[in-house]
Symmetry: C2
């Protein structure tokens, strides 16, 4: 019986055509983020199980691929559940390993530390179209900078990258978790209800203001509180004016400097941005992960229903690894989504050099073969791509395939 030839459930093999686009985008990521002084690093795909299950991953912690203990450590008889069997697992994101990495190597890193990571992450999600159990994440993070220069740099770098790979019509939505909380407090929600409120607010895109109102009331919140809360969202999204207006209303509920920091980011990005994207303050923005402590942002693109990039400030995570607080802020582009859009657009990577194919008659060997090899080697050394192939019986078929692969110049060699 044959062995299984499909990849494991929910993961995929990458064919040469897609791989070329992936490499192209990865090259652009390195080039553009490099110009902003981000340095690339890597962590293992395998992470301590304690770290993966430390309540920093939200729903993702339910989707961990766990790795069996080995040798004597695997004690099947006394194991009660899977946590007794596993000592590690595959990382579900790049933010948690980065926090561990920073704590481990702080003395060997620049300060502030500007990290670029491109790596596979793993989630044992229900398989569905366009969503895979192994997928690439591409994150930039700045650790050690408490000022909003970090947010400005992250947004400028990310939007420059998008411009460089041909994306233009999109919106950068920005808010601050402290705004979210102040708005909830001002309206009269109890702090222990915030998370439930935000989960409903997060549906604004899909169900609208009235839908949110209904769900909040159905959840048992007081009508007056809900109405007061939702009146804050009446003016939709906006710029610095809108921030100033809300600040006025919220008064002391909003920590000092929150509004100014946010306005500063929007104004500075608008002044020096590349491309025609919109940058708006959107008080309905929630961002799922509970580790965010300040600014949050997201890029949404009409071409692709949901968000194509997201990030924010997470000043508390590194503390879990080293005891003291480290300001941290990151922005992650949806690498796989971008590849999907480029594939849908029929994007092709620009060829830099010529591609030639040498078709060699089956009978050729010895010195004649050496001569042909020498010719091929010379061209390769001057930068050309030369594909050598034995001539097949069905030469037309072979040539058609070579043409399709971009080998427009085909040279034939006979004895």
């Amino acid at each position: 019986m044959s062995l299984p030839r499909k990849p494991v459930t929910g993961m995929k093999d990458i064919l040469p055509g897609e791989m070329e686009i992936r490499n192209y985008v990865r090259g652009k990521v390195r080039e553009v983020y490099g110009r902003y002084g981000f340095t690339e690093i890597e962590t293992p795909v395998v992470e301590h199980i304690e770290n993966l299950c430390s309540n920093q991953g939200g729903e993702n912690e339910k989707l961990i691929f766990k790795i069996l203990k080995r040798g004597e450590k695997l004690d099947l008889e006394n194991a009660r559940d899977s946590s007794d069997l596993a000592d590690s697992g595959l990382r579900y994101d790049l933010t948690l390993p980065l926090s561990r990495y920073y704590a481990a190597h702080i003395n060997e890193l620049q300060s502030p530390f500007k990290a670029l990571q491109m790596g596979n992450v793993f989630r044992a999600d229900r398989p569905q179209k366009g969503r895979f159990r192994q997928f690439m994440q591409c994150d930039i993070d700045i650790l050690g900078d408490a000022t909003n220069l970090a947010e400005i740099e992250l947004i400028l770098a990310t939007t420059s990258l998008l411009a460089e790979i041909g994306f233009d019509s999109y919106t950068v939505r920005i808010s601050d978790r402290r705004f979210l909380k102040a708005m909830a407090a001002y309206s009269g929600f109890a702090p222990e209800d915030y998370d439930r409120v935000f989960i409903i607010l997060d549906k604004m895109d899909k169900i609208g203001l009235d839908g949110v109102r209904e769900e909040l009331k159905e959840s048992g919140f007081e009508e007056a509180v809900v109405d007061k809360y939702l009146s804050l969202f009446d003016n939709g999204s906006g710029g610095s004016d809108r921030i100033a207006g809300l600040k006025e209303i919220l008064g002391e509920e909003l920590p000092e400097g929150t509004a100014e920091s946010l306005s500063g980011i929007i104004d500075c990005v608008n002044a020096s941005k590349r491309g025609s994207f919109k940058m708006v303050f959107d008080p309905t923005l929630v961002r799922g992960m509970s580790y965010y402590t300040g600014t949050i942002f997201e890029i949404s693109m009409d071409e692709f229903g949901s968000s194509v990039a997201g990030g924010g400030r997470y000043d508390g995570m590194v503390e879990r690894f080293m005891g003291n607080k480290v300001p941290a802020c990151g922005f992650s582009i949806g690498f796989e989504r971008i590849i999907t859009i480029l594939l849908d657009r029929g994007f092709t990577v620009p060829e830099e050099n010529g591609k030639e194919a040498f078709l060699i008659d089956k009978k050729i060997k010895g010195e004649r073969l050496s001569e042909i090899m020498k010719e091929a080697e010379e061209r390769r050394r001057s930068g050309s791509t030369v594909l050598l192939s034995r001539m097949m019986k069905n030469k037309k078929f072979q040539k058609d395939n070579l043409n399709a692969a971009g080998y427009t110049e085909i040279k034939e060699f006979f004895e």
Copy 2:
């Protein structure tokens, strides 16, 4: 209590300096192998447990990181051993997944298919210096070409790559599994003893001809057989002459065409090679993996004790996945060893563009900050690297660090 900050046992975090070298080498790999018409592909790091345990991985099958089944499939009560608990595992090499990939996608691939793979593999080996449990492999393979053009191309591509990244004084040793078998048969060993004989022969490098003689005798092989066998190795390694000489002696034990194919490879590579490496027929070459069926080769370098690249022909592996034989041949460079040598040499990646740092006084914000950002953005768009950083109290320390990171030009901005 803090969470663990070191990576899991035997795996490593990659710091920015090493990462830069790794990216440089990976770029060269893509560039050089690309010129030979190799196209890059990727398979998931997670592989079916049946495939990983299909007796094609030799000792590596004992070192698999197994992944726990999830949900209802994990039946702890009725599990007798680890094989009942795992449905997948981390790949231990790139050759097995490539064979699966080829069988799955043959209709979407060029023929012959020239694949380049760079990816992490995992082995739960005993941790030791310079050997990690996650490490990068870099393989090129040609599937569907039964002629020795495949071997010639693999060797020329690999040696061109080595030249390109600054390696020159090394030896490419080549032999053929069929030579190995013919020599054992000619001497009078029984076929069931071949593997034991080859394991001892493989130690020639370390214990010499006399050491091998002693071990063979200690293993209970007849003195006359051992002496006849070892007399075949008297002339050491050599070129086409040596091959012709051995062919003469071995007579009908050696399958037709074996000697000619091997000579053809050596002569053709010597005629068109780049750099001054030596290419020799070495009948003592064994190569561990049992899946090799024909030509085997290895690159040894004085600078690095053991081999720095290895490969050969494995015409039987794809058959396990699709029922019919597919000629296949591959060459794998020891990516991690090459990085180690470059790090030991103090290699630095040549900088292409200038690197500037802007140090910005803490008090600067608003329009003044926007102006500075605009200046930085303009330089970045013209290709420069510009690092923006808030000025620290200890400015000298900050500048020293920036200098060390290659930022030689530092500009300061005050209110």
